[in-house]
Every structure is written in C-alpha cells, then in structure tokens.
C-alpha cells in the first residue's frame, strides 16, 4: 500500500503546484486570437477577461444568432443581439452553466447556448447593454472562455 500512497501524494503535490487559475492563462487557442487586434477600446483588467474586447470587432464571420422562439421574441422587442463564441462548451452541463450565469442578469432578455455552433446567443433587454468585458467575465464564472463576440448585424449574420 505504500506505493499507492506515495503515488497519490506526489500527484496531489504536483497538482497543487499548478497555479490556481491556470486555466485562465494556458489556453493557447484563446490567446492566439490576441494576434489579431483591430481596435483599441479594450481595457486592462486581465488578459483573458479582456479578450472578448480584443476580438469584438473581428470581420471574421462566425455563426449567427440561433433563432429560438425566445430569441425571436426578444429581437422583436428591439433588444440588441449578441453572439459569443465559447471555448469548451461540449455538453449540456456546459450549456446549463452558461444559461444559469447569464440568465440571472437583468440585461438579458433571451439566451440560448448552441452546442452545434459552440455559440452563446443573447438578446438584451431594450436599452440595456452588456460589455464584452462583462460577457467574458460571466463566461469565466460559468467555467468557460469567450473567443469572440459579435453584435448587431454581424450577430444576425447580416454583416457585409
């Protein structure tokens, strides 16, 4: 039994050695998008949490908003459409986490996590706003990361 004990202790020690927020800093896919800055309105509150701002105005067309009944209804009310590409969303628990975290926000009128497109579709309450920074931070609270954010016509898939 000594060998397993030793193995466990070594493994636990190695695990504890990892930084507590390692997942926020070692995602090469996420950081790769920093190479394509095209605007200057990001803030400096952390590399990952500000990443969505870095990428918010990409011309790279991602998936458009997923039009569920709730999304359509919220769009008809005049809310702003937002689509955020999410990293690591591979199961229903992931979608549930995003729904719970974003669904609590009073700015959000409708939400849908599309596992096929790995995209978070949001429609805001008319007149409300939700910054890229906040979207990125909320995704972290859910346990995930935002790779890109699109708004308006781009979110609707109508950008030229």
């Amino acid at each position: 039994m000594h060998l397993p004990v030793k193995t466990v202790l070594i493994t636990v020690a190695l695990g504890l050695y990892l930084p507590a927020n390692a997942q926020e800093h070692d995602d090469h896919a996420a950081h790769a998008t920093h190479d394509t800055h095209e605007h200057h309105d990001h803030n400096d509150q952390g590399a990952d949490s500000g990443q969505a701002s870095h990428d918010a105005h990409h011309t790279n067309a991602g998936p458009a908003i997923t039009r569920t009944e709730d999304i359509e209804s919220a769009l008809e009310q005049g809310g702003e459409p937002i689509v955020a590409d999410v990293l690591g969303v591979v199961c229903d628990f992931c979608a549930l986490a995003m729904n719970k975290i974003f669904g609590k926000r009073e700015e959000v009128a409708a939400i849908y996590v599309d596992l096929d497109t790995k995209a978070l579709s949001l429609v805001l309450v008319p007149g409300a706003s939700l910054s890229d920074q906040t979207i990125a931070e909320l995704a972290i609270q859910a346990g995930y990361r935002i790779a890109d954010v699109r708004r308006g016509d781009e979110a609707l898939g109508m950008a030229s």
């Binding site: 390692a22 995602d27 591979v90 199961c91 986490a97 599309d114």
Partner: protein
Amino acid sequence: MTTARTALLLVIGCLTSIAAAARPVSYTGGWTVIGESDRQSSSALVHYTPSPNMSLGLKTEVNRDSDFAIYSVHPTYLAKRWFDANYQGNLYIHGGIGVASGINNNPQSDQMALYGGVMADWETRSLFVGYRNRYLDAGDYASQFMQAFRAGFAPYEGDSGDLHTWLMLEIDHRPSDPDSVTATPLVRFFKGPLLIEAGYNLTVNQPLFNFTYRF
C-alpha cells in the same frame, strides 16, 4: 437506531451514485447532488461551487463490504482546464476529511478518515476519456487505493436540451480486492441538469447506477 441509520445510508447510497463525477466543479453559485455506487461502496455528495475553480461538499459513503460509513467534508479543486472550440479537458484534485463509523453491528469505534486523489477527463461532443484515483485511510476500518479509467463515445451529437446518450466502458483497479481489476460497461444519459448512468460490472456481477443533478 443503528439499523435504521444503516438502512437510510444504504438507500441514499443506492439511490444516489456516481463515480467519475461529471463536472465535479460547477458554475459559480451552483449546487450539485452527486451519487455514486460501485462494487465496493455507495455514496452521496452535495456540493456548492463558490468559485469556478473549486467546490465544497458534504459526503456520505457506505462501504458495503467492510461495514463502515464515512461522513466527510469534501472539497474538489479544478487545477487546470484545457479549452478549445471542440474539446474540454480537466484536471481535478479531490479529497476529504471526516469520521468513519461502523454500520451493520460493526463494533469498532469511530475513527478519523482521510482520502484524496485526482480526476482527469477529456471530452468532445462524441468522445470521452477519464481517469480517477483515490487513496483512503480510515484507520482500522480500511486503507484502500483505487483507480479507474473510462472511455466512451456518443453515437449521436445532441444539442442543448436534447437527450444525450453515451456508451462507456470503465476499468477499475483495486489492489486490495480479490478481483483487483474489473470491467463495467455502462450507458450514460444526459439531459439538462440531470445525468444518469447505468451499468453492470461483468467481473463481479454487480449493477452500477449513478446520477448527477445540478441546480
């Protein structure tokens, strides 16, 4: 009283069971009920996630073979998460500290119990591999090590809210058991906040039933 407590623990254990806890750390502010039943023990864990990196829970575990139960505080730490658009990988450290008590007329006195180990998984929407281990020191009751590897695939890719189905095979290794290596094919159903697993250990002929409910 002891019999009633034992019965209650067994019922809890049988009704709530899961081994390779799917997502043992939830979203911030989330609660999760996890159950686990394997060839050796049955357990129930309720945990709260105060931050995206850790959860803290209370766990009851009934060791059916050795007639003792463990009541413990059970933290789980997400040491690392790997992301891409199409996959997610996780490394967790889990542990617990509590009391081991005899059940089924086991006359041994209460003793401190400690356990710890790691869990790791990697999954896409259609492939899954996972590993977990644990060392338990429950004083005179038991000193156990176990490790398990699991692999599976989803025959179809469900979207949000759909019924997700996985077919999996788990190989577990418990050096102190007569049947040290066993195989359990199982099916996992996943829908919204509920995950259910049912399987059958082909080596020792015991059923497996697990669930996770998140809210």
